[in-house]
Symmetry: C2
Subunit: 256 residues, 2 copies
């Protein structure tokens, strides 16, 4: 089962997309905070605008260098402890929303990632229990102003600017994410093509580690790192990201 | 005028503390999101537990090395661009709440700071208009796990852990913050005693700069940097912070 957050011009709603269907079955309220119950209404997927499946009430936690081949392409070693960074909820945007290159950059890098959405409050959870705290999985592009990330003492300008966290197109509710493809395209050309089985640390270990530092709240997102193949996208180009079993979406890159 | 967020055992409420008064005049709802209107009820300040004046819906933005003497004591130069870092809303805690030293640290450093609370959505604001986006000012302790901050590639473990952002005791609504004292004590001994006039970049410049990177939302907090004199506080010790014209509060440091 997959869930979409969408609009037909009014306030955001949620809907279930059954396998093989082209209709969304509309839900009452926000499934993160209430039991899944349908209103009876159906809306054609073609007639809605998909939104980011979740806007975190608290945070997006990113994990650096969680694929060895990507660490190597950046000239880095795999770190002993996961490298964590934060993106605020103001960085989260949805499918087909523009990625706006910030004023201090000329281009940004794409980083296709599997994103974990947290279901309930979590602190100091053990890896063995960690999947009990997963609401679902979505796809994220950890858009990065690489020059600023490299030049600055912190990764804030590099990773946390407005529109730096496109997510979508759906939440997959019961996916086995241990070995699924993670891909990115620029203007239709495949640039990243990894598998989650290449992660240095898997989803349970990441949730457990992150929860030793922060209290995770419902709707918080953990980005699980990007495979090899990252590279620039420039104003005028379109970047698409995909995780197998969840879906694919794209964003145009603009400069204002 | 100062505003407190408090509890008497039930849900958080807000109250006005007039100069010289020892009573809070209770407000209807959250003054960040509705006009200030009183319920008619008064509560003695002695009978309430003060809470963090605001829990951001989005983010706490910190600024590193914004006092030259503090940068020098850490062996750093004043940076050309402000160094920004993020604390999530899960780091925010209130007066007298414990500061919990994270599992990967033995002690934490205190950093007394003037904190700006944002009133309304702000993006790319000019410094000349920036004060129009200030709701009020409060006091924060930018608690830092210094060893982790120094050892790690990012400042996340150093600056963003649970309880790393005590704030309080009040929101000052119409304070001139251009030259007020910023102080910290450990177990009653004065350790930091600076003035906001020593900031490298003042409040308007910081708001303007931060708003070029992020959209600021109502209730977002900007920490304006700490003066010289930072140092460790260990489990069993109490740290207090003060900004002249706002107030003073303290927290006990614990290890669990």
């Amino acid at each position: 089962m997959r869930i979409a957050r969408f609009t037909t011009g009014d306030s955001p709603r949620y809907g279930i997309l059954e396998d093989g269907s082209t209709d969304l079955v509309v839900l009452k309220g926000d499934p993160l905070f209430m039991p899944v119950a349908t209103t009876g209404e159906r809306v054609a997927l073609d007639d809605v605008r998909l939104l980011s499946p979740v806007i975190p009430r608290s945070k997006v936690v990113g994990v650096g260098r969680n694929y060895a081949e990507h660490a190597a392409e950046m000239g880095n070693e795999v770190p002993e402890e996961p490298i964590l960074f934060l993106k605020p909820n103001t960085s989260v945007t949805g499918p087909d929303d523009p990625i706006v290159v910030p004023g201090y950059a000329e281009e940004v890098d794409h980083e296709a990632e599997l994103a974990v959405v947290v279901s309930r409050m979590a602190k100091n959870v053990r890896a063995e229990q960690a999947l009990d705290y997963v609401f679902g999985y979505t796809v994220a592009n950890d858009v990065t102003a690489r020059a600023a990330q490299r030049a600055d003492t912190t990764w804030t300008r590099g990773k946390a600017f407005d529109t730096s966290c496109p997510t979508g197109p759906f939440l997959a509710m019961d996916l086995d994410v241990s070995d699924v493809a993670v891909r990115a395209w620029v203007d239709g050309e495949l640039r990243q093509d990894g598998r989650t089985s290449q992660m240095v640390r898997g989803v349970p270990e990441l949730i457990a580690y992150v929860s030793t530092i922060f209290t995770l709240l419902p709707g918080d997102i953990i980005l699980t790192g990007t495979p090899a193949g990252v590279g620039p996208v420039r104003p005028g180009q379109r970047v698409e990201v995909e995780v197998e079993g969840i879906g694919r979406f794209g964003n145009n890159v603009v400069k204002r």
